[in-house]
């Protein structure tokens, strides 16, 4: 199991479009990926859950990876967050 924490810098927070891209990126992996804010964890491969968290700029999210390809997934999603959010 791997975990990263990331503070959103995008002024718009996690909007529909980046949420969609995040889902796309997460679906590339077989491991279980969850995104959590304030202890509320959601499936990172489903767009409604991510949008439902209503993550705004300056808020921290915790993303956990659990499964066979967790190392690669963690690395890819981390890079995705840095570049897009």
């Amino acid at each position: 199991m791997k975990e990263i924490k990331y503070v959103i810098t995008d002024p718009e927070g996690i909007h529909a479009r980046p949420a969609g891209l995040l889902v796309k990126a997460a679906k590339e992996f077989t491991c279980d990926i969850k995104i959590a804010k304030d202890g509320k964890a959601m499936n990172c491969k489903a767009i409604f859950g991510i949008m439902g968290l209503g993550v705004k700029k300056g808020e921290e999210v915790t993303i956990t990876f659990d499964g066979e390809d967790e190392d690669k997934a963690c690395e890819t999603i981390n890079a995705f967050m840095q570049a897009n959010l």
Binding site: T9, D10, P11, E12, G13, H15, A16, R17, A19, G20, V23, K24, N43, K45, A46, I47, F48, G49, M51, G52, G54, K56
Partner: protein
């Protein structure tokens, strides 16, 4: 005649009959089914078909309104691929033994309620997206097509609200204008209407009575009004306005995509001036070759405290990325004089135009300057950014700026932060800079002449003072000679020179500027195409010969 006022999202006039656009508010019936497996299969098929439709819609939108606006349909596809959504539908079908239509409607309701209850305007608006995708699936399930326009005559669409998919699906040739009772100027539909170039009003309290269906109406996007059953006089006036408008638009559209080249082959760059990130759409719509003056002070004026490096970086990056490789010249902060910002705590001055402003603030308070420079250098890794320093009078100021820039680069290196290598130039807006332009040119990458301040400092006239009108001459030969001198000195040193002041947009001077060899004109977005027209009609050699006679 009835008149309603709303918020205009796209200027222009449309005259035609109203088509009242109402969603099929069909009640979805809850029907018990025995074969839930068959029902699940029906849902799966309808869902797949809906995703296919959305993919087609995405392609249509991509061609008509661009990638950024089309993205919403990709998001819609993902919503239909969402496991939580699908599980909810399937669960309702199997656990309650009901039809797929009902399960989708119930799921759509639940999910849209979740968004509607969020404490964020943007997320609340997404409730409409959930309803939109759910209705699509229900339409597929019940075999009814969405309300297409079947009339032959183009119409003015009047609706309570329009979903983005409804806007894009409408056949553009059959729609003269949109008027909606709800919706904001920033809704997807408003953005789409703007990109499609269709007059549109939102937030218009039209009484959606069936009687207005088929009525003659005028939508005036310039005034933000819709006139239902207008009188003959009104119609006549509007027809004339519309004809003028159309001709202008047609003319300008024909100029889009053309090169800025004179009859005798001289080229000039036409860039846009912008004062806010919101103006980016206009820059693109008007076919600007780049941004010649991005007034960064809006970021400071709109904040209550010094904007952080990160905030600035995100804005500069967005502009650079949106312009996709086209030049974006960002002027460092030009606060002071008539632009005041409380948190800077600037001292009161008797003569602020000649006081502590622009680069003078930056050089006396380098800690503020460095934040902006760091953001600019970092953002320049994402596009073609150039940095422009305002209010230069002396050579040592450039030397000092370079020292600070070197410190910034060094710090970024040490912190391992990526940055680009932007061009750096200066504004020529003081007579001192004009007189020193030859020497200054060897130290910078480009000049941009700020004619507003240059005129005021050269003529010693406060432009706000109307009592001095008889002494004020925008085309004063002293100013024109200065421009010519700056351009000559720039070329001698091998750098380019442009004009970003109001004079640059003065079409009576375009020929003169071409004759001087000005390399770039940066003007308000709306001025770009009219100036292009003047350039295309100019023969510089003939103009110069005529002048000599």
């Amino acid at each position: 005649m009835k008149v309603y006022e709303g918020k205009s999202v796209y200027n222009g006039i449309a005259i035609g009959r109203i088509r009242l656009f109402s969603k099929d508010e069909r009640q979805v019936k809850r029907v018990r089914v025995n074969d839930t497996d068959a029902e699940l299969a029906r849902y799966e098929e309808a869902r797949k078909k809906s995703i296919e439709e959305l993919a087609a819609l995405y392609d249509k939108a991509l061609k008509e309104v661009g990638e950024a606006n089309a993205a919403i349909f990709e998001v819609h596809q993902m919503m239909l691929e969402d496991d939580d959504y699908n599980d909810s539908v399937k669960n309702i079908i199997t656990s309650q033994g009901v039809n797929a239509e009902y399960a989708v409607a119930a799921t759509g309701d639940n999910f849209s309620k979740m968004f509607a209850s969020m404490d964020d305007d943007y997320m609340r608006e997404r409730a409409a997206d959930v309803k939109d995708i759910s209705e699509r699936v229900i339409n597929v399930l019940s075999g009814s097509s969405s309300s297409d326009l079947t009339n032959d005559e183009p119409v003015i669409i009047v609706a309570d609200d329009l979903a983005p998919s409804e806007t894009v699906q409408l056949d553009k040739d059959k729609v003269l204008a949109f008027v909606t009772v709800h919706g904001s100027t920033n809704s997807h539909t408003a953005i789409l209407a703007r990109t499609m170039g269709i007059p549109a009003l939102v937030n218009t309290p039209v009484d959606l009575d069936d009687d207005i269906d088929g009525c003659l109406a005028i939508v005036d996007g310039t005034k933000g009004a819709v006139y239902i059953d207008p009188g003959e006089t009104m119609l006549e006036v509007m027809r004339e306005n519309k004809a003028r408008d159309d001709e202008q638009k047609k003319l300008l559209a024909s100029l889009k995509g053309r090169e800025n080249i004179t009859i005798d082959g001289q080229k000039i760059k036409l860039y846009a001036n912008i004062g806010n990130i919101k103006d980016l759409a206009k820059v693109i719509q008007n076919d600007a070759g780049g941004i010649g003056l991005f007034r960064s002070e809006f970021i400071y004026l709109e904040s209550k405290d010094f904007p952080t490096e990160e905030e600035q970086f995100m804005i500069y990056k967005q502009v650079a990325e949106t312009m996709a490789g086209k030049k974006v010249i960002i002027r460092t902060l030009d606060i002071g004089a008539d632009k005041q910002c409380d948190y800077f705590n600037l001292k009161h001055e008797d003569n602020p135009a000649m006081g502590c402003r622009a680069i003078r603030i930056c050089l006396t308070r380098p800690e503020i300057f460095k934040v902006q420079l760091r953001a600019l250098f970092r953002a320049s890794a994402y596009g073609n950014i150039a940095i422009m320093y305002p209010m230069i009078t002396s050579l040592w100021e450039i030397d000092r700026i370079k020292e600070i820039v070197d410190e910034v680069r060094k710090e970024l290196d040490e912190q391992g932060i990526n940055y680009g290598n932007p061009e750096q130039g200066i504004m020529i807006e003081t007579p001192a800079a004009v007189m020193m332009s030859y020497e200054l040119a060897s130290k910078v990458d480009f000049f941009s002449i700020g004619t507003n301040d240059l005129t005021q400092y050269t003529l010693a006239i406060d432009r706000q003072n109307t009592d001095l009108d008889m002494f004020y001459d925008a085309h004063h030969p002293a100013v024109l000679k200065m421009i010519a001198m700056v351009v000559d000195n720039a070329h001698k040193a091998g750098i380019w020179a442009g004009i970003c002041g109001e004079l640059g947009a003065d079409r009576t001077l375009t020929k003169e500027f071409l004759a001087m060899g000005v390399d770039e004109l940066s003007v308000s977005p709306a001025s770009i195409l009219p100036i292009r027209k003047t350039i295309l009609e100019t023969n510089v050699k003939e103009y110069k010969a005529d002048k000599k006679c």
